[in-house]
Symmetry: C2
Subunit: 329 residues, 2 copies
């Protein structure tokens, strides 16, 4: 049985808990925390009861137990860090992850902050402590993209990564093109459907997409870049007329993130793309094309966000460590 400590009990954390409840998967949760409370129970936490408490708007655990208490005191093999991303400081996730690695525990995270801010440091710490640090869920949710590049395409040189990395922007652009909506109208619709935050800056200014480029550059391409290195334009100034002009040429507009390691290109910007292009996906989907020397171009399309979708990537990472762990012990 693999014991995990689960930090973060919002949409993603609850998705993970539900998947474990339904499927078992050889996983037991011995530590759990939300932003207000925590539970530590070496014999396995009752996830149904914890989900019920959240459902009623209560904290998931004991107000005297903090997430850092869980990191330091719970008995677990893998820390699963799925708290919300803070782009500036990466905290409290960064502290959680460092604490777990220093205790010699594996870490799986969906939190973009720590990986974008200090992947080299965290990876070095993980190696020093002989444990795994996995972060598939940080880029493109359900799509097993990082694993495909690091393992499936091992042996290839990746010459370019190009894609639609933000589902919120893609939804807004899809709706503007399909219905002739203004940016504001499409944004309002996205908010109503829960696809956009009250403050949408992070998505619509291309920050989220840029962070994903930083993560891919640092973790897969061996570059050393920060958010400041990404040339970035959002979608807030796009007009229905611009989309109509694209439409007239059988094209549309998508917010495209691009990395060309050989040329130092790191860019997020709205681009005119032929409608038949594989990156032109609808709604909140993500799509990424990877250019390689041996395998040619590969395109991956799937859901980039969502509770069960992100849980899928996190669980894939947990099971990856589980399988290695079992084989090496």
């Amino acid at each position: 049985m693999t014991r995990i400590a689960l930090l973060g009990f919002g949409s993603v954390g609850q998705g993970i808990a539900r998947a474990i409840l339904e499927k078992g998967l050889g996983i037991t949760v011995t530590g759990l925390a939300d932003s207000r409370s925590g539970v530590i129970d070496a014999s396995g936490i009752d996830l149904s009861a914890a989900l019920d408490r959240k459902e009623r708007g209560e904290p998931c655990g004991n107000l005297d137990i903090s997430s850092m208490d869980v990191v330091e005191e719970a008995e677990y093999d893998i820390l699963v860090e799925v708290t919300p991303t803070d782009v500036e400081t990466a905290e409290p996730a960064l502290g959680h992850i460092r604490g777990a690695l220093q205790r010699g525990r594996h870490v799986v995270t969906s939190n973009k902050g720590p990986i974008a801010l200090d992947y080299p440091g965290l990876q070095a710490l993980a190696e020093e402590c002989g444990v795994f640090l996995r972060y598939e869920a940080t880029v493109c949710g359900a799509i097993p993209l990082i694993r495909a590049m690091q393992e499936g395409l091992a042996g290839n040189t990746i010459t370019r990564i190009c894609g639609v990395f933000n589902g919120t922007c893609n939804y807004i652009l899809t709706r503007m093109a399909a219905e002739g909506l203004t940016y504001e109208q499409a944004l309002a619709e996205a908010r109503d459907l829960g696809y956009a935050e009250a403050d949408p800056t992070y998505d619509v200014e291309g920050i989220d997409a840029a962070i994903k480029l930083v993560i891919l550059a640092d973790t897969v391409l061996g570059m050393r870049v920060t958010l400041d290195d990404v040339e970035r334009t959002g979608i807030t100034l796009l007009s229905p007329e611009a989309l109509q002009l694209a439409e007239d040429q059988d094209c549309t507009i998508r917010l495209i993130g691009e990395i060309v390691p050989g040329a130092g290109v790191l860019q997020v910007s709205p681009r005119i793309v032929a409608k038949t292009h594989p990156l032109v996906v609808e709604g909140t989907l993500n799509a990424v094309t990877v250019e390689t020397d041996l395998a040619g171009d590969l395109t991956f399309i799937g859901k980039g966000a969502g509770s069960t979708e992100t849980a899928s990537a996190v669980i894939g990472d947990i099971l990856y460590i589980q399988s290695r762990h079992v084989q090496s012990s």
Copy 2:
């Protein structure tokens, strides 16, 4: 250094040799065979010289050394079996693979025959002997599809696999739709470009696609099926008029392979598909959509055949074993 024995020195085998020559990758070739000859050299075979001999139309090695001699006598960690597929008997690849597994050697293959015909037996033998059997290259060439389903999507239940599995048919259908060619004209063009064999039956009757469904069903979905279980219709009877009718509705026709494990569906047939559908890819590309319970729908697009593309998948498998091997030793 990982030592491999390479059986099959046609397009794929030469692609692998070239990649090793150019990239190193920590791989040395200690055994090599084509259909007529073989070389065994524990200190590492000169791949440049072997490629030159093939270039001149000569056998790659010594006529007194057979591929089975290489399997049984060479010193290697991994047998790389990339001889041509025989759908009926799977030989000589089946014997090569069994021989290597029985010697306690890992096996990587691009040969569909043995995996489609006897995956359960070979996998059991590999487990008994404590070695890996890897076959990513057998389905969709460069796309790391099997690995994505077995590992990236671990924890998911796969409810449906649906895709364009044969590049030759896709090329023919693309050309019929784009230029109004007849089936015979498009086939002749595909032959000229090397996309179709002199006898195209294997591709155009859907046999190749059906074999890939059998491999996915047996290896990823835990089914136990054979080629006879696949309901199969090829593309030979399609007329330009049928494609035009589809075109009139903003649709086109693709040869689609589909597995629905819960309903026992295993089917290859030409289907009318909306042009905006992610499976509508152009030319010789492959595209596969995987439906899952947690991750939703994921689509993978890439080159399904070709020398370096198939080599990419084979090398990915070699490096997978290399990384596990190194870590456990």
